[in-house]
């Protein structure tokens, strides 16, 4: 068995992962990155609309404003110490990206331009057309391609992590499958930073890429790291009819309207001040209400961009123009675009402190996989990119000094052998007529039906039963392909296991939270209940395999909870 040893192991090659890797390297650490896809294929690409830049010039605005709006949007479930860090460090990260070469759109005076995003009192979101995430992702990869960095960093590209290694109470790296050879190896490290992104594929449909299967969240859960706020699943207000593809909030930021089948700007009824730019949970609930009450066309409402003009659309929303043209054959400069709410983001995840550290020594997390928590019950648009950069960097900056003087402990071969046996077990199973894809689809459709925008005890309890049945099917299902090289059939099986873990955590937490807050709407408890539920729900797997549910208080520093109106 080849032995791989590194100071810092970053799992995931998206924004959080690359930012962490660069920061760790700048501090002189020996860094490795393992990613199941090439870094530029990561889902950070999909963040179209922009990145908030608190404190960047006048347009970024004072950090306190951004922090307050983030807190309010979180429906006061966000931890205010963490939100303060996000707002105070955020501006520096945006400028760092600009200095590394991100081609931010400009104003006539040459300074960076801003657009308005939902939940924000003013325009403070910096952007690159409608490809902000893609532009930053590619620029970070440019930085990694610098010879000094590239030669010093080990890239385990297209390696799939099967488990985290926790030995003697510390995280010591991971076991991973080289997708190209089918061989399993231990990659040992003094510090491991999980930056594996979200879990959107637990739902069907979803805006998320096919790779967003909650791997890191499930892996961390399995080794005993606490998982927090899992009931908080963000439903994005504008996803494309029939495809679930994301239409950026930047469209509404540039002035697009939402119309129902009667051509009415229905947000007047739900958020008379902020209208289309109210918080995402508010807008999605409004749309779903319009749809449920029959003011829809084929289950959709409309995004109206006709009045924005062709020039603005081509300059600032080109990506949306192309997606609409290519996927639904609609010219957004001339026609209405049918949209509906769709699953987009998980506010919850691996519980960390403001330095990305989990209660398991040596195990860090950042980005969507983590829950610091800065997003609370609802994330503001353009805060996800900011979150990845700020906490990716901070995790590395905490990990590198921490690991100095630590020594490698040899990892017993049995650690790898355990996963090897697990995989052999899957490959040896006979095909019994069921398929991984079928179980995954049934999981996604049932999660959307039962743990979606409006939640009831009946639906939630029904989902518990559904998930039990799906779990039973999963334990028996085999894979058709037995080969070693690029066996995606096997990978999808392993991913489904991660997704089922996540689906169970989401459902359990949603049953537990008996109030409505942010993205979590219980029809049987329609109001927010600060007296009982101003707290986080935390799930932790115990050494004996059982699960413990506990609570953590919300950190409140300067913004007392108040009624949330837009």
């Amino acid at each position: 068995m080849a032995v791989y040893e590194h100071d810092v192991l970053v799992i995931g090659g998206g924004l959080a992962g690359m930012r962490a890797a660069i920061a760790a390297q700048q501090l002189g650490a020996d860094v490795a990155m393992v990613s199941k896809v090439h870094p530029v294929r990561s889902h950070s690409n999909a963040a179209q609309g922009g990145i908030n830049g608190p404190g960047v010039g006048e347009d970024g605005g004072p950090w306190e404003e951004h922090a307050f709006e983030t807190t309010k949007a979180s429906d006061y479930l966000g931890d205010q110490d963490a939100i303060t860090v996000l707002a105070q460090d955020g501006g520096g990260e945006v400028l760092q990206m600009e200095h590394w070469g991100v081609v931010f759109s400009r104003k006539p005076d040459g300074r960076m331009a801003v657009r308005r995003f939902g939940g924000m009192g003013k325009a403070r979101t910096f952007f690159v057309g409608a490809i902000t995430g893609q532009a930053i992702l590619h620029v970070l990869y440019e930085q990694l391609m610098h010879p000094a960095r590239f030669q010093a960093m080990r890239m385990y590209e297209e390696w799939f992590v099967t488990s985290l290694i926790v030995d003697d109470g510390q995280c010591r790296g991971c076991v991973a499958l080289n997708i190209r050879t089918g061989e399993l190896h231990a990659i040992t490290a003094k510090a491991t930073i999980v930056c594996t992104g979200g879990l959107g594929r637990v739902y069907e449909p979803s805006t998320n890429a096919l790779i967003c299967t909650g791997d890191g969240i499930a892996q961390a859960y399995r080794v005993g790291a606490p998982i927090m706020d899992m009931e908080m699943v963000q439903i994005h207000p504008t996803t494309l009819k029939g495809t679930g593809v994301l239409i950026t909030e930047g469209a509404r930021g540039e002035g697009a309207y939402l119309l129902n089948k009667d051509g009415e700007r229905f947000m007047q009824k739900y958020a008379p001040n902020m209208m289309e730019l109210a918080s995402r949970d508010v807008v999605s609930r409004a749309e779903q209400t319009e749809i449920d009450e029959g003011r829809d066309v084929d289950g959709c409402v409309f995004l109206d961009m006709r009045h924005l003009g062709e020039q603005l659309i081509k300059e600032r929303l080109e990506e949306i123009y192309e997606i609409a043209r290519d996927l639904v054959n609609i010219d957004i400069a001339k026609e209405l675009l049918p949209i509906l709410p769709g699953v987009h983001y998980i506010m919850g995840g691996i519980k960390t402190d403001v330095d990305g550290l989990t209660p398991v020594p040596g195990l860090y997390s950042a980005g969507e996989a983590a829950c610091v928590s800065v997003h609370g019950a609802n994330r503001v648009g353009a805060n996800s990119l900011l979150d990845t950069l700020v906490f990716g960097r901070r995790a590395a900056e905490h990990a590198v000094p921490w690991l100095k003087g630590k020594v490698f402990r040899p990892i017993p071969e049995s650690v790898v052998e355990k996963d090897r046996a697990m995989i052999r077990g899957i490959l040896d199973r006979p095909m019994d007529g069921d398929r991984v894809a079928r179980i995954r689809r049934d999981m996604g459709v049932s999660m959307s039906a039962n743990v979606g925008i409006f939640r009831t005890p009946e639906r939630l309890n029904k989902q518990v039963e559904e998930l039990k049945a799906l779990r039973a099917r999963y334990e028996k299902v085999g894979v058709e392909h037995k080969g070693k090289v690029f066996n995606t059939d096997l990978l999808f099986h392993l991913e489904l296991g991660y997704m089922l873990d996540c689906a169970e955590m989401i459902t359990k937490s949603a049953i537990e939270r008996k109030e409505s807050r942010g993205a979590h709407t219980r029809l049987d408890y329609p109001d927010r209940n600060d007296a009982e539920w101003l707290k986080h729900i935390v799930l932790t797997k115990q050494p004996d395999g059982s699960e413990k549910m506990s609570y953590l208080p919300v950190t409140i520093t300067q913004w007392q909870p108040q009624e949330r109106k837009y």
């Binding site: 896809v37 010039g57 081609v103 006539p108 040459g110 590619h138 440019e142 398929r435 392909h481 690029f486």
Partner: protein
């Protein structure tokens, strides 16, 4: 809608290649990727392909569809078949890169070429306290190039790379433009010098294939042409490509048509006898076919060289097109 696929298969473990045929029942708005995923999930778990975002931003699913590189997620079945359900769509891995399995190619050579163009910003002076102040037009221009998702389609179908592995190829050259054209970058001249060497900007034959297959409108060839103009502007002219452009222009401005006699020595260098000799057989053939008019023995610009009628108009066109040349933007403070 019935969808018929014929997919090229490579099994590296058994060392065999062949084709698999699938007939699938898909909804009318299905993309080729939807069909391939359906085949993989419900018909044949051994079929390997990369895919992730389903919306043309991750660059994973580039492959050859009826012999042209495309993103499977952007290829609507109905647009490929024209609604003919009997049309069997031929799906093959991209070209110019080795196959790992089925539709999965090894993109290492692609990335090696990207790294060859020093693909990171090298700022001119000290980093400003705030952002660099630069014109929006420059950022919008670069954003078009940043639209590149590194799918490899242009490299797959590049006709030069097919015959010369040394060519840096369209994607990397477009990436190079993203820095050479960035007002914040301080190494434009060094970059252009390196790009003017063998394998660089002058080796493109302008076949336009990369422009046609690019799913993101990056139009790599046009970026290559911009780099050529920038290189000449910067005085990097001591190479065949730049000299070819110069003698070409001179020939047109002087006489209104190409002077075939002086094209070769003008391009490779007047005293580059060995190189000129290699062109002799071709020149003799042209002579026999009457394509080297004797009047062209006089070099363009020399007294007595041949002039077309209406030279004023020709020169006017040349002058006007020269005015269209954009200038590289600069940091404004």
């Amino acid at each position: 809608m019935k969808v018929k696929l014929k997919v090229k298969r490579t099994d590296p473990e058994k060392g065999i290649t062949g084709y698999s045929q699938y007939t699938l029942d898909m909804h009318d708005s299905a993309t080729l990727l939807d069909a391939l995923i359906s085949a993989r999930e419900y018909e044949d778990g051994s079929l390997a392909l990369r895919c992730s975002c389903r919306s043309a931003i991750c660059g994973s699913c580039a492959m050859r569809v009826d012999k042209r590189a495309r993103l499977a997620c952007r290829a609507k079945v109905i647009a490929i078949t024209g609604g003919d359900e009997e049309h069997e769509i031929l799906v093959e891995p991209m070209g110019n890169m080795p196959v790992i399995k089925d539709l999965v190619i090894d993109q290492e050579s692609f990335w090696t070429k990207i790294r060859q163009v020093d693909p990171y910003l090298q700022p001119a002076g000290p980093v400003p306290e705030g952002e660099y102040r630069v014109p929006n037009e420059a950022m919008l221009d670069l954003t078009h190039t940043m639209n590149c998702i590194m799918c490899g389609g242009c490299v797959s179908d590049c006709t030069v790379l097919e015959v010369d592995k040394n060519f840096i190829a369209p994607a990397a050259l477009a990436k190079a433009y993203r820095f050479a054209g960035d007002p914040r970058d301080g190494h434009t001249v060094e970059r252009l010098q390196k790009l003017s060497e063998y394998g660089g900007i002058w080796d493109c034959t302008r076949c336009n294939m990369c422009v046609e297959v690019c799913p993101k409108g990056v139009a790599p060839m046009n970026r290559i042409l911009q780099l050529r103009e920038m290189a000449i502007e910067a005085g990097i002219t001591n190479n065949t490509g730049a000299r070819h452009t110069a003698i070409f222009t001179k020939s047109i401005v002087d006489g209104g048509r190409l002077n075939e006699v002086w094209m070769v020595p003008g391009s490779v260098g007047m005293f580059n006898l060995p190189r000129i000799m290699t062109e002799l057989p071709g020149a003799l053939k042209m002579l026999r076919a009457g394509k080297l008019p004797l009047a062209q023995v006089i070099p363009p610009g020399a007294p007595g060289s041949h002039k077309m009628k209406g030279m004023d108009r020709v020169r006017n066109v040349v002058r006007k097109s020269a005015m269209l040349k954009p200038k590289k933007a600069e940091v404004t403070d």
